[in-house]
Amino acid sequence: MAPIRRIFIANRGEIAVRIIRTARALGIETVLGVSKADRDSLGAKLATRAVCLGPGPSRDSYLRVDTVVQAALGTGCDAVHPGYGFLSENRDLALACEKAGIVFIGPSPANLEAAGDKLTARGHALDAGVPLVPGGNAASLAEAAEVAARIGYPLLIKAVAGGGGKGMKRVDSADALATQLDMAMSEAAAAFGDDRVYLERFITSGRHVEVQILSDGKTVLHAGERDCSVQRRYQKLVEEAPAPGLSPALRAGLYEAATTYARHIGFRSLGTVEFMVDVERAAFYFLEMNARIQVEHPVTEAITGLDLIAWQIAIAEGRPLDLRQDDIALTGHAIECRLNAEDIAHDFRPSPGRVTLAWFPALPGLRVDSHMESGAMIPPHYDSMIAKLIAHGPNRTAAIATMQQALVVLRLEGIATNTALHGAIMADPAFAAGGVDTNYLAGLLPRLAGDGP
């Protein structure tokens, strides 16, 4: 396959800037498709060219497969990078690119079907012998009640097409099932244009650990794991690599399961296999595979030294992975904090608006991925994440110290942010000890507000 010369970026925000960074380093031109609300965004300035896809709301711009492909063709792009979210795991986009003779920088339509549809994904996990959380799909309340009776409460309803916590609902008892099912289905429809959901047993105490996969379709490698247990309402907030306190056997088991799964579905691209880990029982369950670059990929880049976007492009170009597993060495510890424009004092409500001052300190070991600059407008239409701080140090303590300094020193003004919450997490002894589970943040928040024990 020919080298890629011009990439159409079908995304926005920090990941658009991130993709442009690597493209520039590789000498590849970029065309950024922006919504009207993102016309003046940093990504639009940094791309070789920006074209306006449509009005602000995502469904009229970033989520329009036809417009994206037309824009890519019309601007002479030979590849499309979908980033994360939006159309990143949309089989229709991958198919349309294939039809239009454009390289989709991601897995094949077949891979997307195998991994992107969570029900199919569970089937493949079963076939591959990868342990699964008990659950099943439900297209109606009757079917949901049936699955619930089999797996018991509490349970989680998840969007089949989902990701990022959207369309995800916890149900604690049978009488809440109908309402939560309705809400999950309408959220899923709104977020993904697909209201299919499935039910899964809720693991009350577990850690979210995921394994980064790189595969050229023949060689399947992992680039270590990430721990993403610090979540609020299934939205990851803090991620780190490696996962603290895993036994070598457990870690090896995760790597083996993740690569087995990827190999089983013939995966070719970058992806992540997510697990729920029950540390006490040294057990883990397959959750899903994300067939795209992830928000938290920089922590893996920090400890491996790999440029994952560059590898993703190389694989899309058809180049074989000229790496062996032993070439991927994990060095030190990295932590990422997601800074969101949200008001933590008012139930985390989004805080769009004009950023009057944006400045991040040049601390050794700190990387900042962001589309913020002084004067930037945060539109109300999209995700509230505005920056990722990634601290890398020789060990976890050093990474936390760097992160603490960054959180104190940075300036992000004009909007409310969750910076103080990150400061509280970094200063919390339970987080410092390492290995918190997915219930951790829900317990920390009342303590911080002073109305907990």
């Binding site: 009207k36 896809l53 449509g54 036809d66 019309g74």
Partner: protein, 151 residues
């Protein structure tokens, strides 16, 4: 000439201030800006609120009222991104040419998105001054398609 970037700068300035009125004169151009609910903003290109979804070739897309007055004409912006066609099919007469009179409903061109043809109407009555976007090339959302002297 006022560039798009300069207009954006002015808007940003106004956006962040308590000004209620701004007048700007530059050569031929006279610019007046007012803030306040009772007055219309005669300046900002308005996006369609409805998504211009894929619809049958003949379906007329409601084009927003012309919004940028410059050099004596009004710009008709592309309601969606796609390939702009001056005529209904290759070789046919163009929908409109300079000097033609149009009404709000006159079809001025077609925007093709992945083989779906979306007709674009003028949205205002007037005389066509210029066909600004070339035939068969990509126009982005909001890009000027033609310029009209309003009646």
């Amino acid at each position: 000439m006022l560039t798009r970037a300069e207009i954006d700068d002015i808007l940003k300035l106004i956006d962040g201030s308590d000004f209620t009125e701004l007048k700007l004169e530059m050569g031929d151009l006279k610019l007046e800006l007012r803030k306040g609910p009772a007055q219309s903003a005669p300046f900002v290109p308005k996006a369609q609120d409805q998504a211009p979804g894929p619809h049958p070739p003949a379906a007329a897309v409601a084009v927003p009222a012309p919004v940028v007055a410059s050099g004596g004409g009004s710009e008709i912006p592309a309601p969606l991104l796609g390939t702009f066609w001056h005529a209904p099919r290759p070789g046919a007469d163009p929908f409109v040419k300079p000097g033609d009179s149009v009404t709000a409903d006159t079809v001025i061109g077609i925007i093709e998105v992945m083989k779906l043809m979306n007709s674009v109407s003028a949205g205002m009555a007037g005389t066509v001054l210029e066909i600004s976007a070339p035939n068969g090339e990509l126009v982005e959302h909001g890009q000027c398609l033609i310029r009209i002297q309003p009646h």
